[in-house]
Point group: C5
Chain length 306, copies 5
């Protein structure tokens, strides 16, 4: 089993260490794992995501869920953070998302433009910033340049940097797709190389036949996993990318709404495979408040069991 890095093992500046301590020990499960509640979908997908549970269109809904559910942090873009966090200040750690885009125009040259700064995050009392990197996009040169400046500001202010490391673009599609083991593994390494403290990844689709289109070592790995049962194969695929992320702590996302059983399985396997935490949004707030709290507790039990 891959061992998740502890805060003590990491070589962090005092500012980063202080803020990460809050995320890993003061809030959330409190045992060095983390559970984040993202609410950037209103920008990334539009309000469509809120129809299954209309009250969740009000960001206060997620703030309350984060507080009552005892999340490690909530993820907001600048506008929502500054308008809705007042009564949760200090009670729910803020992860400020620095860049974003809508899903309306083509993302053939996917690029997520920065619209607020690390300094904004400092002013708002945030404990980390989020940055979306589109791995493999034809716009990677702009992305690297933009991220480089954000990373330097994070170093300057002692602000932890969470990279949403998302494979995108036709070249990725041609090599197995954005959720192939190949693509997720490259995304994990890239975040480590570019200075992420934490990386958010999608769990690799280890049964998707498109893995056959990936470079040879990954094609072989995919074929080897075919010999194993689902749970074992899942664990090995996740362990691979967690190991690749190295000293970068890993969060796995929940993605679109799935069954509770699948969600808890995902949580369990990802954590057993060395992930430091989870970042589940739609699966938590696309349901009635009480149900959201209940599933939150079940996920936290998995985190606390480690």
């Amino acid at each position: 089993m891959v061992k998740r890095p502890t805060l003590d093992e990491l070589d962090l500046s005092l500012g980063k260490r202080t803020r990460m301590y809050r995320l890993l020990y003061e809030h959330g499960p409190g045992n060095g794992t983390a559970l984040f509640l993202p609410i950037d979908q209103g920008m990334e997908h539009g309000p469509s995501d809120f129809f299954p549970n209309p009250p969740c269109a009000n960001p206060d809904y997620q703030c309350r869920l984060a507080k009552e559910g005892g999340y490690s942090g909530i993820v907001f873009h600048m506008g929502l953070a500054s308008k809705y966090m007042r009564e949760y200040a200090g009670r729910v750690p803020l992860v400020l998302k620095l860049n974003g885009k809508t899903n309306i125009p083509s993302d053939a040259e996917a690029f997520s433009a920065q619209e607020c700064s690390v300094e904004d995050a400092v002013r708002l009392g945030a404990d980390a910033v989020g940055y979306t990197l589109y791995v493999g996009s034809p716009s990677q040169d702009r992305d690297f340049g933009q991220l480089g400046k954000v990373r330097a500001e994070c170093d300057r202010y002692g602000m932890p940097l969470i990279i949403w490391s998302y494979p995108r673009g036709s070249a990725v599609a041609a090599k197995g797709g954005r959720d192939s083991i190949y693509a997720v593994d490259y995304a994990a390494r890239l975040a480590d190389e570019l200075g992420a403290d934490i990386v958010k990844l999608n769990a690799p689709k280890f049964r998707d036949p498109r893995n056959e289109d990936s470079p040879t070592p990954y094609r072989k790995l995919y074929q080897e996993l075919k010999e194993l049962d689902d749970d074992e194969a899942y664990r090995l695929a996740v362990e691979k990318v967690v190991a690749t992320a190295g000293k970068t702590l890993v969060l796995f996302s929940g993605g679109s709404r799935i069954s509770d059983e699948d969600l808890l399985t995902k949580a369990r396997i990802c954590m057993e495979a060395g992930s430091t935490g989870l970042i589940f949004g739609r699966n938590m707030w696309q349901r009635a408040f009480g149900e959201g709290l209940a599933i939150t507790q079940k996920v936290k039990e998995i985190l606390l069991a480690l």
Copy 2:
């Protein structure tokens, strides 16, 4: 009915609170609602808009109308603000429009370039700035970057930010068009996410069959509204987008000249549905001065009745 946010409920800096107090309580109706007079059409559409009422080509016409009609503010680009506002200084609040374009070249990649700054607005004694965001345009990355810097300057100077949130581009057209409920709703959320204090929206066209091309939840909403009478459907459509805008105050635009009856209906329904105010231009100044004053009073009565 959606409740419009009051100034007291909003978490605003002292500078923003002071200036928004002027717009919402010192000028205009004075009861927390607002009526703005925009005169940026000479740049956006060219002088063609002034032919129906030639005197209105002189910006002093709109200044007088704003003053005598008791508007909450007048919207100018930099050139007109600095040349025509002298005798209205302090009497009519200024909203300085920071970016703009002509309607001459293709707007396939619509982008409105910044030509003056928040600092200019401070120097001119403005009480808010305006920024046009083209939601869904292929140029969204440049737009987000440009807006992000404006937003930060607004925070720095305590200057309220009004976003003209306008869906544009072929991807929008393919999903129901720029005035579909889907597009306007996304535009409302995006303004909230990106840090608008106030958002200017076009009222959604809730009867336009192109809503059928929108993502499923909106298609269904459109179909549900078909069952209702016009007034009720109108109200529900507007309530939807006002609710989506959240803690961002909403202004609805008047658009091109319509009948007085339609205009007053629009005003009444938008306000009943939770809008904070209206921003009516051509419908006010594309007619004789006395008529403009008269229709202004009728609209203000609706605002005062709330």
Copy 3:
């Protein structure tokens, strides 16, 4: 008849007022009108323009003409201003042209790049700066951004801003062409909106049948002008654009060499229609020095007769 704005009526900073006083009262006709001598054609068109009168290829020729003819100012790009103005310092006001281009490559996306600054103009003792704006060009976003920064610098230093407001591009061509009443009128308004103190326009071609392709109000205006005799139609067309320019003082250009009679007619009608001045280049220096002085005096008589 359109009344031209006087300096006293304009709301100008002390610096702009001082420099514009020099241009309008200390030099040139001295009665509040202006006659400028531009010599930027060597960049914009190349030395071809100098063949009809070889001595005029030496910029000293234009300096002498400007001084002996008593012009309100001479227009130079940076290189010529700094090399040729020494003995004319204080005697001939300098208008420093800030941006330019050659006519060699395609101007399908016409854009005139800035190559010197308002600070350069201050250092050279200039009394105004010139900026070419290509109205309707696909590059309008870059143009607006560049102009916005120049305009802000002008405000900072109290330097009058003269915009060469030139319609360009295929979208302009499709709506009547660069000299249509529509295009020139839009150009006049745009300069006013973007903060010009003075705008240089080409006189509209009110007889050109391409005006039929313009938006409806302009098509109708063109048709109405067909009913009038040439002089009356000319005056009305010019009055229209002068009125549109509002508090921005208007200069009409001479364009390429025309007959003396046509030139003087143009001068007379433009001035009677409310123009503040003229900016004639090739018509003045594409002839022998004595002839240039003589035609200068005839034009100045028209200006002085107002």
Copy 4:
């Protein structure tokens, strides 16, 4: 035989001289030659490169190899340097790679975007920075501009600049390819012209018939080398590019994994031909640790024999 420049002969600032002394005399062979261990392949190629020897996916593996093998320095991007170097600080000199890219999207317009700075290198205690220049790429204008700023910062901080000078693009392909003598020779000169202190080159493929497509002098050189035996031709080809690099010290890369015999031949000939050092990555760490140490010693013997 080409004589390699000594540190004393070079005109270097005190800061550059101090840091280069550490690289050339305090660490590595210690006789003025150098052996570097690069570990930027995780970004440039992705984790595929680590499958032949799984432990090498952990950057600590390379750190240990660099320390125990006594390398002159290790090459890291920012993220890995700041996370993995703590226990090697001062023991293994750091070369911080400033720009990078993935190999996922097309490299038709190859450009490696800067993601950290010379100031970062200073803060991390690095003894040199690395910059990848794509010689002949259509993006050369952006590359030159970016490199120029890096070079100026290196001068400011006294930081040695190592240029990875890599021919790329269709125009290079048309003239013999990226490893033709022509392309490598041009790359060597360009690094010298642009201010490299050290240049990393690939050894030219002196037997590749595509050299026939190179400009005449190189085509002739290729044909002359055909007359010679492999060793002699190899040496002459390398001497040519080392001579062209002039006062820029040359490192030759190992490229993808080759046989030990070929690797040692390459090392011997390159060093005999005047190279200052070698930069071997995959050939060192794509094997068991002990084997990696053993081959390291064999290469160092060649360096020490000079």
Copy 5:
């Protein structure tokens, strides 16, 4: 005969005057004329240019030639200047070339990117900077912007600016080609307009039938020159462009290697026609050192005879 401007006649800042005095009177012929040795071909053309005389691949060769031959200055890019000039400091004036490119990719949109700065030139003790402007290139807007900033820095530091004014691009080709009288003449004027102190031009090809494709005045000039003998036509063509350059001192380049007789004829005619100097590279160093010195003396005799 065109009279070349003397230093006393030019309106220059003290810094520029001091440095130009060094170039025109302290070094080189010493009589107000100049002979420069450029060695930027290793970047612009690659090392191919050095095959005819292998020792010249070492920049020290050109340094020695410049010193022993008594040149007015040597032209280097940053890398070579800082590595090779140590023992020639103060003995050979340095002209630092600020921008450059390789000849590998297409130059359809020719643009020479800046890679060092005027401040670098000051720090290196240079007496002038060189800038390549591609007249007529589709990239002229970037070029004008980049040059404008360089020009301003030159004014700030009192550093003479030499513009390599080179016509390029398909629009130039369509009007007679890069060496047509039309193109060279436009290039001369443009340098004067954009603030060059000195302009480097290629001698116009006055016999090339492609001059027929140039604008009418140049077509006629070409035809008139056909009536004259070669020497007379050459002189008149050169006089034309020297006159057009006005107060900008003109240097003519030698281009690729030609016969000694042709070179001396070129030198003589260019100087008689008013050129201030010559900038000969390949014709000087693509031969044995002694021969290079000998031809240098012959050229200097022409300069001294004036």
